[in-house]
């Protein structure tokens, strides 16, 4: 049964749907992320894009705060130092925890002064290694790619736009890095760190990212961005 013939699906792929909107009827489909079943109907829970994945009905969110997921790379600020762990603010109601043994690729002795490694206010990029059922987040700063970040331009974007900013296999972000000569690290939580040869180039990188954020849904975005970067070179 193709989508066209199937009258049980009530909306089209990538349609913008709203909370309470009926997406499908009958028992052939299963509600997944962003949808729920109400009797015969499958209904959207959020403002988002309708997506049919096999038999799963999903609504991909268009906005909202970052929700931590295992294996996400995130950028945050060290908010507190406890006896054997650091707390990092990643934009979630609860700070992520970095345990002593996840702090660094070097060995950290038990009696070490944790401030020597990361002090409150430091910006770090790390990886989420676990999210508990009550959404307590464990983070690592010792996996490859994790480190303390030096001075740089830090901007916040909508977490839902991060995939577009990174692009397929990092193609979009690589294009920006090459054109501006900036080092850019993108956190899945919407925090982005930019460090380049001068503030002018960093500004171009920021403006480009903001442009992608604003036009994430439009078609031909890659060409638009490529053109924008060339104009600013």
């Amino acid at each position: 049964m193709t989508e066209k013939e199937n009258t049980n699906i009530l909306v089209k792929e990538r349609d913008v749907v709203v909370p309470g909107e009926e997406l499908a009827q009958g028992m052939d489909y299963l509600p997944s992320e962003g949808a729920f079943r109400d009797g015969e109907k499958i209904v959207s829970l959020r403002l988002g894009l309708f997506n049919l994945d096999g038999r799963l009905i999903k609504v991909i969110p268009l906005g909202g705060r970052y929700i931590p997921k295992k294996n996400d790379t995130v950028i945050g600020k060290v908010s507190d130092i406890l006896f054997s762990s650091w707390r990092v603010d990643i934009g979630w109601p609860f700070d992520a925890m970095v345990h002593l043994r996840e702090g660094s690729r070097e060995f950290i002795p038990n009696d070490a002064d944790l401030r020597k490694y990361y002090n409150t206010g430091d910006l770090v990029v790390g990886k989420i290694i676990n999210v508990s059922s009550t959404k307590i987040v464990d983070m690592s700063l010792k996996l490859p790619g994790c480190r303390k970040l030096g001075t740089g331009r830090v901007i916040e974007v909508q977490p839902t736009r991060v995939p577009r900013i990174i692009g397929k296999q990092g193609s979009m972000i690589s294009m920006i890095k090459e054109s501006t000569g900036c080092n850019i690290i993108v956190g899945q939580n919407g925090t982005i760190w930019i460090s380049g040869p001068d503030s002018k180039k960093e500004r171009i990188a920021e403006n480009t990212i903001r442009k992608i954020e604003a036009e994430a849904h439009s078609s031909g975005l890659t060409e638009k961005i490529s053109k924008f970067l060339k104009e600013n070179e």
Binding site: V18, G20, K135
Partner: protein
């Protein structure tokens, strides 16, 4: 004297002209403006975020806290700053009107803060506020089983009417104010208040009229949400 024609010429089941826009406050996680006639409400959502002081944190479910108020210059006689008993009550009923469609168990220990302010008041302020609040919650990406839609129905002199304006509320023969809110998808009423003088049959008639009006208001809400993304379906 019987109320034959409404002061502004509307039909008795007609809602005033509406306007809605989302994302009007850049720093908020979600925000919206909702206008019904000359009543303008703005709503902003911050959350999920931490709840302080910590003894207010609930391990079973998140806390939805609403603060509603009128701005000083939104009414003819200046309203002194600071919460009044009326605004405290409306804050609470607004929370309760939205609670049935929210699953706060997803936000244990955390909270969602909702702020609703009326910048221009011409009756029906709590309804405009709830309409704006639903949009702000949707804009903030908070999962909801449905949008909540609200309108004030009532009785002006001897006629049941929908969306009373200030002039009607002040009608010399008296008026009854019956604010209501509902999830139009399920038909479930989530806000119901009344003050005035109506028979049981009149109340039923008013509620049915209100339900129809809410269906129209919901269309305005949906259009505003989709408009932000240009109607969608762009690859």
């Amino acid at each position: 004297m019987a109320y034959e024609k409404r002061f502004d010429g509307r039909k008795f089941d007609e809602v005033r002209e509406m306007e809605a826009k989302i994302g009007i406050i850049e720093r908020a996680d979600g925000s919206a403006m909702f206008r019904t006639g000359k009543t303008i409400a703005i709503a902003a959502v911050y959350g999920p975020r931490g709840v302080f002081p910590s003894f207010l944190q609930n391990p079973k479910k998140g806390r939805l806290k609403c603060t509603y108020d009128l701005l000083s210059f939104s009414v003819t006689e200046r309203k002194r700053p600071g919460p009044s008993r009326r605004s405290t009550e409306i804050s609470m009923v607004t929370e309760h009107s939205l609670a049935p469609v929210l699953d706060m168990t997803k936000y244990s220990y955390a909270g969602i803060d909702l702020y609703v302010y009326i910048t221009q008041a011409d009756a029906g302020t709590r309804a405009a506020g709830i309409n704006a609040a639903s949009l702000a919650l949707a804009d903030a990406g908070i999962p909801m089983k449905d949008l909540i839609t609200s309108i004030a129905v009532g009785k002006v002199s001897d006629k049941i009417a929908v969306d009373l304006d200030k002039a009607e509320e002040d009608h010399e023969d008296g008026a009854t104010d019956l604010p209501m809110a509902m999830s139009t998808r399920t038909g479930e009423i989530t806000l119901l208040q009344m003050d005035g003088n109506m028979t049981r049959a009149e109340i039923k008639e008013a509620l049915e009229m209100g339900k129809k009006a809410c269906e129209g208001i919901k269309k305005v809400q949906i259009e505003a949400l989709k408009a932000k993304y240009n109607g969608g379906n762009k690859k």
